[in-house]
């Protein structure tokens, strides 16, 4: 899941969280999570003062953002001392799977 400014939202992205009017989580959602964005929908959000949306995967890469490989290396670093503990191995595997899922799989940008 990634939080992006509405300006960078493109048709085809999938909402990962409900969208509310005026960006504040008050009242009724105007669009539910799981919805695929379309040009019309994005234009409507703009009219309703929505500034940011949460979308599935990791579609937008900003300058200086860590790549999937960097994140994986950091995860390895954090766990390097405790991988003799089977419970920590389990947690490591779960986190790795989570990273792969949240970065939209291996198809995300690789390190240059």
């Amino acid at each position: 899941m990634q939080k992006i400014p509405l300006m960078l939202a493109k048709a085809g992205m999938i909402l990962a969280r409900d969208v509310f009017r005026g960006n504040a989580p008050i009242g009724m959602p105007i669009c539910g999570k799981g919805t695929e964005l379309t040009e019309t929908l994005i234009a409507r959000f703009e009219n309703m003062d929505v500034q940011t949306v949460h979308v599935e995967g990791h579609p937008v890469w900003e300058e200086g953002e860590r790549s999937f490989d960097d994140l994986l290396r950091e995860l390895d670093g954090r766990f390097c001392k405790t991988l003799q503990n089977p419970l920590n191995v389990m947690l490591y595997d779960i986190y790795k799977a989570y990273l792969i899922k949240s970065m939209g799989g291996d198809s995300g940008r690789q390190a240059e």
Partner: protein, 281 residues
């Protein structure tokens, strides 16, 4: 060696320079332990602190609770519950002590508090609020060591950096005690209830916790999860080893763990925003 430790204990526990909790919290604690006290009495004490009153009203009126316009402290206390109010009072004063210059540790503590709350709710444990507060406070010993022995703290950080070991091990080498024990001393001197002081004292050694082992196990586990996700900075670069006894106490399994990781990560997005907001205030 024992001398050094007791000397250090004396320095750390020197009450004249120890950060104190606002008297409001002590009064609230003693009132809430007495079954004859009323909400009105407690509300009167809370009203004497305008910052705390404002926070409580803000929370009671926040959309996440969905009550309609709460304007008095006693109504807010009835709606939120005394425990929530107590946790709020404690955590907002801890924030004032902690935030000064250690954003990383603050984020770590906040993360552990949130994760502890999630775990407790997921497992259907009683007293989720207390467990969350214990999570928030678990590394308070580090703050005290930093305030009271800033020289020793630099040595500790140096040892951690040079030899790539856990902060806990470095603390034992340099000051012959560790942040968990110091946190325990502090919580005694603050007269915090056992259900908070035990998780603080034993979050690195769950087996020693006797009366509140479940709470201690939750805090230990929350600490592991937050370290694993790399959120904030507790000073340690490594994930602590998961203690078998904590795992067994909470009756966790792989499926539950995977769900917890998902939920914690989801929540951390909000926590990050919150912490950025607090910093910019």
């Amino acid at each position: 060696m024992a001398d050094k430790r007791s000397e250090l204990k004396k320095i750390i526990m020197d009450t004249r320079t120890l950060p104190t909790l606002p008297s409001v919290i002590n009064k609230l604690n003693s009132l809430s332990e007495n079954d004859k006290s009323t909400i009105q009495e407690m509300a009167r004490i809370v009203s004497s602190d305008q910052v705390l009153s404002a926070r409580i009203l803000r929370l009671a009126n926040s959309p996440s609770y969905g009550f309609y316009r709460v304007s008095t402290i006693s109504n807010a206390m009835i709606l939120l519950g005394v425990n929530v109010v107590k946790s709020l009072a404690l955590s907002s004063s801890i924030f004032a002590i902690m935030e000064k210059d250690n954003v990383g540790l603050w984020e770590h503590s906040l993360g552990v508090g949130v994760a502890a709350n999630l775990i407790a709710r997921k497992l259907g444990l009683p007293e989720c609020e207390e467990i969350a507060t214990a999570g928030l406070l678990h590394d308070i010993g580090k703050v005290i060591i930093k305030i009271k022995c800033s020289e020793a703290e630099k040595d500790i950080l140096k040892v951690v950096r040079d030899r790539q070991i856990y902060v806990m091990e470095a603390e034992h080498e340099v000051i012959d005690t560790d942040h968990a024990e110091v946190g325990g001393w502090l919580s005694k001197s603050w007269f915090l209830p056992d259900k908070l002081s035990e998780p603080i004292t034993f979050h690195h050694d769950v087996a020693k916790s006797e009366n509140h082992r479940i709470k201690t196990a939750v805090v230990h586990f929350a600490d592991v999860l937050i370290s694993a996700s790399g959120f904030g900075n507790s000073g340690d670069c490594f994930v602590p080893s998961i203690q078998k006894i904590a795992w067994d106490t909470l009756k966790l399994n792989e499926q539950l763990l995977a769900e917890l990781v998902d939920e914690v990560e989801d929540k951390l997005v909000e926590v990050k925003n919150f912490s950025l907001e607090m910093m910019s205030d």
